[in-house]
Amino acid sequence: MSSAPVALHAARQQWIGVLARAHRGELSGHEAALRDTEYQLIRAPEIGMTLVRGRMGGTGAPFNLGEMSVTRCVVRLADGRTGYSYLAGRDKAHAELAALADAHLQGSQQARWLSELIEPLARSQAARRAKKDAETAATKVEFFTLVRGED
């Protein structure tokens, strides 16, 4: 496989991830722009379950962590571009907007959508994550063993 499709693939993975992690309120601000096109729902937003599996320490044997709800949606614009979305939770409107954004991002206006939609979302997600990491780091406990007086 050549590197161009791989890079395209990675870029799309990145923006689909950003759209999935976005807060609903952040996307609703762009709702009018996103819906300002002719489109049809190939797969109307639907809620399902998926099994989350994990590996202890990232390398151990896989185990079933539990099930989570997932919402997915596929739209097609009038020119044939299809947008997909998969996101955690049960928010159908969010899934539809995210799928529309994915479709728009594959078109000729990609740079504009990236700078107006994806980059601000990615920045606010990075800020949220940093804040949470800082909060978590403050509660970190260093365990150590005192010398026991046995000898």
Partner: protein, 204 residues
């Protein structure tokens, strides 16, 4: 990329799939009676009834064999997307087969199930131009009180093939689909000529 070929399927995926499944059950429970099956939109080359049954019955656990007439990029893309079924090139691997009337003279290769698991046979989804207009035959057997008169436009070859592969409990179950209607033909149904013909042939 095949995504430009995708079309919407059921308007209400859950209820429409349940209605279609119910129609399929009724069709097999009352062989020869026409059941309505109008939940799905048509798809290029596939009648609404055929598409509805595909959407209701196929999923990731049901490999499908497609007759050449249905082996188009549009049908492949939409069945793969909406049903997630594998499309196999060998009849032996298929749990469902989508056939048109040109394929019915040869049913070789389809899985008939085995004596322990006769339910594992391949189910035939047969799309016809219409469900009447052929030679009337008398259908008898489980689910039919006396006899049902059914005039499917089928060649003798199909009935011969069906009889040759009917080794109860092993055998082939079929759905005949046209437009918005379905007729079921389980392996347990016996087919007789309605009026005595010169040959007075009996099928199955």
């Amino acid at each position: 990329m095949s995504t430009t070929l995708l079309q919407p399927a059921f308007a209400d995926p859950v209820l429409d799939a349940q209605r279609s499944f119910r129609a399929a059950l009724k069709a097999l429970a009352g062989p020869g009676l026409v059941q309505p099956l109008e939940q799905a939109p048509p798809l290029q080359g596939l009648a609404p009834a055929s598409y509805a049954l595909c959407l209701a019955l196929l999923d990731g656990d049901t490999p499908l064999w497609l007759a050449p007439a249905f082996d188009t990029p549009t049908i492949r893309a939409n069945l793969a997307f909406h049903c997630g079924c594998a499309i196999v090139s060998h009849r032996e691997q298929a749990r469902f087969a989508l056939l048109d009337d040109s394929e019915l003279g040869d049913l070789q290769g389809f899985d008939l199930g085995n004596d322990r698991y006769p339910d594992q046979s391949c189910t035939l989804l047969i799309q016809l131009p219409q469900l009447d207009g052929g030679r009337p035959l008398a259908w008898r057997g489980p689910g039919i009180q006396h006899q049902n008169r059914v005039a499917l436009p089928l060649s003798e070859g199909f009935w011969r093939e069906r009889k040759a592969r009917n080794d109860f409990p092993r055998g082939l179950d079929a759905f005949f689909l046209a437009g918005h209607s379905v007729i079921g033909l389980p392996r347990s149904t016996r087919i007789n000529c309605l009026e005595p013909t010169p040959l007075a042939e009996e099928f199955a």
